[in-house]
């Protein structure tokens, strides 16, 4: 074979491989929308998205997913509430304050935390967090609060990882400038380095939101999963992901399609998150 032909062949192979992921996304989109949209049409967009009742086995069935949309939003917001302060402060500590020896302990611990399968998180939640919540706050212990706490822990590695590298890439000259004005180490870090890294940190938070909203197994095990609008933080809640997993097995017909449409809603959420992530990234580069 001539070199030129071989080059062309090789690059064609690379292109084909590279396109696999694009093709996968495209296929998923097509599948989701093709099987989900008709159901939404049949149920009615507003009755589907804003309907407060989900009774798929009633005659006639009612498919309103507002409780699940709210459920996902509450649980994610809760996770942010727990995860962001802890995550950001940890990343500041790791990037600018901790001794190398301690760093060599924290870093692998976080990598491990990131690698734990979500079912194991779920068990931890079920065996530890649920009883604890029940003891302290009453109720069943399976609640928005518990799910938020667990998700908050799960998104820590994401937030910390991204924030830490954002903090490390802040020019040392800011820090030195602050010290030269008589600022203490802590003040220099919190008032010059941290603000300079804020869009990077924000990007980390958005990634964390993505992780939290898409999480399924762990949430199912601690959230209670009642398909009704939650009335308090210590009440049970069902998320979009939980809704799909719990009913997919026995559903058929319109019920099944309504679950896929739930997936479409989830997909749109993730899309929004990804777009905001790249917007934030772009702004932080400027």
């Amino acid at each position: 074979m001539k070199t030129a032909t071989r080059e062309k062949l090789v690059s064609a192979v690379f292109l084909a491989v590279a396109l696999t992921s694009v093709a996968a996304v495209a296929l998923i989109c097509v599948f989701l929308f093709a099987s989900g949209i008709p159901a939404v049409g049949e149920i009615g967009v507003f009755r589907f998205l804003l309907g407060r009742e989900w009774s798929p086995t009633d005659v006639p069935p009612v498919f309103g997913i507002l409780p699940m949309i709210l459920g996902s939003l509450y649980v994610t917001a809760g996770a942010i509430l727990f995860g962001v302060p802890v995550g950001v402060l940890t990343s500041v500590f790791m990037a600018r304050m901790c001794r190398p020896r301690l760093y060599r302990v924290i870093k692998p611990a976080l990598d491990l935390l990131a690698g734990i399968p979500s079912i194991v998180y779920g068990f931890f939640g079920l065996m530890v967090l649920v009883p604890l919540t029940r003891e302290i706050f009453g109720g069943t212990g399976k609640s928005i609060f518990t799910a938020s706490l667990l998700l908050g822990i799960m998104i820590l590695p994401t937030i910390i990882g991204v924030s830490e590298s954002a903090l490390r890439s802040v020019p040392q000259s800011y820090y030195e400038g602050a010290l030269a004005l008589g600022a203490s180490h802590t003040r220099a870090v919190y008032f010059t380095v941290l603000p300079a890294a804020k869009s990077g940190i924000f990007a980390g938070v958005i990634l964390g939101i993505g992780r939290a909203i898409g999480e399924t197994m762990a949430v199912i095990m601690v959230a209670g999963n009642q398909a009704r609008a939650p009335t308090g933080v210590f009440k049970g809640v069902r998320t979009l992901t939980a809704n799909i997993v719990m009913e997919m097995g026995y559903s058929e017909g319109l019920h099944r399609e309504a679950l896929i449409a739930t997936g479409v809603v989830l997909f749109v959420f993730i899309l929004i998150i990804n777009v905001s992530f790249s917007l934030v990234k772009r702004r932080s580069k400027q």
Partner: protein, 249 residues
Amino acid sequence: MIKFDIQNLKLYYGDYQALKGIDLAIEEREITAFIGPSGCGKSTLLKSLNRMNDLVEGCRVVGKVLLDGEDIYGALDVTELRRRVGMVFQKPNPFPMSVYDNIAFGPRTHGITQKHKLDEIVETTLKNAAIWDELKDRLKKSAIALSGGQQQRLCIARALAVQPEVLLMDEPTSALDPISTGKIEELILDLKRRYSIVIVTHNMQQATRISDKTAFFLLGEVVEFDETENLFSAPRDKRTEDYITGRFG
């Protein structure tokens, strides 16, 4: 009046000795220039005057640096030292925040929080740094958007905002165009009335234009220290002469 009295100062980076017993007296309300070839220890000495060398791991200092007679490596609080001895860096380093917040950073650090006081400090320091007219309408804008020359003058103003007694400047104009350089030299000459200034420069003309005294460094030692006029017109040491006439490295 002697502001800084440096006595037999030796500085080590790990095993490497960067300063080999410096003796130097820096006068109040004068401009002292440090000149010398690259790597001879000018920045090192400058940084040891406000203890920025503390940041360098393995850096060790022997000898004495007295500020108004008080040993800065002794009981003197390092944040207080750095308030009294301001620093301007080679590359302008405004914080990525508004012009106003840049100036207010130092005063806030030292406990001033009332809005009207900060407003007043921002205005007077920007005026003292002769950059008020250019920036008065952009106080809330990001300092990063300013030109390099404006950024450097902002950094000088930022250092002045904590009412220092001494200003250390490490090649403050080396990253700037001739016009910005001229403005900063003018500013430095004006500031001399109120502050003691130490400036590191590779520009001989700059040293002759603005400084009262000049120290010539070589390999971690001060070879010659004299009135700028004398040092440049009648150097006593052969090595100084070689350097200022350009016959050296």
